[in-house]
Point group: C2
Chain length 326, copies 2
């Protein structure tokens, strides 16, 4: 298998939980030199004075085998003593920071305040946790996803996502700061590497996880210039989001929740960015529809329950992409 | 009892554990209007980006009945998940912040960064924890106790106290910033109150807990001007410090560890500041010596094991002071 991927680099663009599952699968196949993971940081925010990077942490904890699989955030075996004490101090506790998770935010904040970039801090954290693959923020600049709702209210992403449990109806999204945000050095390095052969768009929320990454200044142009396969995996299976509000968002945006809508979104917003699209067996019926959009499609199991499911989907993604001659 | 203390205000100057015990006793006798507690903040420091005020917290937790009596710091029922995760991230863990205690430091740091003073933050924290008596920092300005050692090294207090476990031999102390530090508004208010009838110097370390308080700009002059009883309780019993490095420090400073040395220190450094001195029954033999210094002395049990011990010593201190006609 490894021979197949000699002299090969792959760039994976990912949000949190769903993306992190595929990233884990990829990390079991590709070496640290072969795989670069770029995470969305539009969800990052300052809370209780702490710099919190949910997607970076989810990916990092997943690769370190420290992730809390039940919750989808924080570390395995989290306890909530801090949060209870915080509640006692009459502070907001809607954002559930576990006692172990807290160490990450404190160290990140400390190092950022010292003047390190988010990339440098993430590299340090990964090294300490024994994560060998590069996990890289999309940018070292501040980008803040804002959710505009049907009531005219604009809500910072974590307040929408966690505090309001995705209840408000979305109208559109705004990535504040995105136009002046530069790709992080590691992201640029990967995008510019002569060995880069494949970009994988993980099964993450297209609107709030992948869009910010693709909209970082210059990223889309560079991807298009590279003329290498770009393969996306649908986060929507059977019209449902496996995790998170993607399907709900689609309905609120006036679209039918389906894998086709995901593909359509990428094609509409980013032109012919996608080379291939991977959908679940349950969505086999959409194949002709996707062909009609000019997309090469493959059908496989995309629901990742076990580690083997993750590895299988990673293999399938690599095999599929390997078939493209560009 | 309360009648005796009508139209009466008492100001207690305190360091951490030992002082907090007496403060708790006083709080069971005196109302919130009658008792003001001023804490040393020379031990305060910034650690992991957090503003930590050990003496304020010990007093606050003690009055809230939340203190960890076994450790002498942090909250009851502390867990150490944060610290373990921090260790995993290769950060310094010598300063043992418990998961519950951490909430206090995070809230304090957040509010200070918002621009609140340490007094305001402490008031908020006390209100949330149901502490009715005023617990007040000696100053809202930054003061940092530095320990100068016999090797010529200068060590910030918490590093000496916690990291180095008081092992270095002390030569003298320096309270950085003390000359430009103003008393906090609450401290000044108490010092200027017409109802102030008594100042109690708690059984705290004279060198690193009480000296900083007395050396805040203008404090000593105001105390002397007031011509009200100032009663100190010896933290040294039978030549030993009940807690902490006071006796060890005395030896290293070339003095004999004893209650007399405590009194001598206050008289030498601050002139005739003390009106009365309270020593333990074990030290009855020192009475004539203390008389020779011109000090009225009373002998009682100063070793506070039970809550009743704390209340008894508080009563004894108030009774003793009440006997002075100034």
């Amino acid at each position: 298998m490894e021979k197949l991927y000699e002299n090969f680099e792959c760039l994976a663009l990912s949000g949190g939980v769903g993306g992190a599952k595929l990233v884990l699968g990829l990390s079991k196949i590709l070496s640290a030199e072969q795989l670069t993971v770029v995470a969305n940081t539009g969800d990052d925010f300052k809370h209780l004075g702490l710099n919190i990077s949910p997607d970076l942490d989810t990916i990092m904890y997943t690769l370190a085998n420290l992730n809390n699989a039940e919750l989808g955030w924080g570390q395995m075996g989290e306890t909530w003593q801090f949060l209870q004490a915080l509640d006692r101090l009459d502070e907001e506790t809607w954002f559930k920071i576990g006692d172990r998770d807290l160490a990450t935010h404190i160290v990140r904040t400390l190092k950022l305040d010292y003047g390190l970039t988010l990339s440098q801090v993430t590299e340090d954290l990964c090294r300490s946790l024994g994560v060998k693959h590069s996990v890289i923020p999309m940018t070292n600049d501040r980008v803040g996803t804002v959710v505009h709702t049907d009531t005219g209210e604009s809500i910072p992403f974590q307040e929408y996502f966690v505090r309001d449990r995705c209840n408000p109806k979305v109208r559109n999204f705004d990535f504040q700061g995105i136009k002046t945000a530069f790709p992080s050095p590691g992201f640029l390095k990967s995008l510019n590497s002569p060995k880069l052969r494949l970009i994988i768009i993980c099964p993450s929320n297209p609107f709030v996880s992948i869009d910010p990454i693709l909209q970082v200044s210059g990223v889309l142009d560079r991807i298009v210039e590279r003329r290498i396969p770009v393969v996306a995996i649908s986060p929507i299976v059977g019209g449902q989001a496996l995790k998170g509000p993607a399907a709900k968002m689609m309905r609120e945006l006036g679209k039918t929740p389906s894998a086709s809508t995901v593909a359509e979104h990428y094609l509409t917003v980013y032109g012919d960015i996608l080379t291939g699209f991977i959908i679940d067996e349950e969505d086999r019926i959409l194949e002709s529809n996707l062909s009609g959009m000019g997309l090469q499609t493959t059908v496989t199991n995309t629901v990742m329950i076990t580690l083997q499911d993750r590895i299988n989907l990673a293999h399938e993604s690599l095999r599929f992409a390997n078939g493209f001659k560009i």
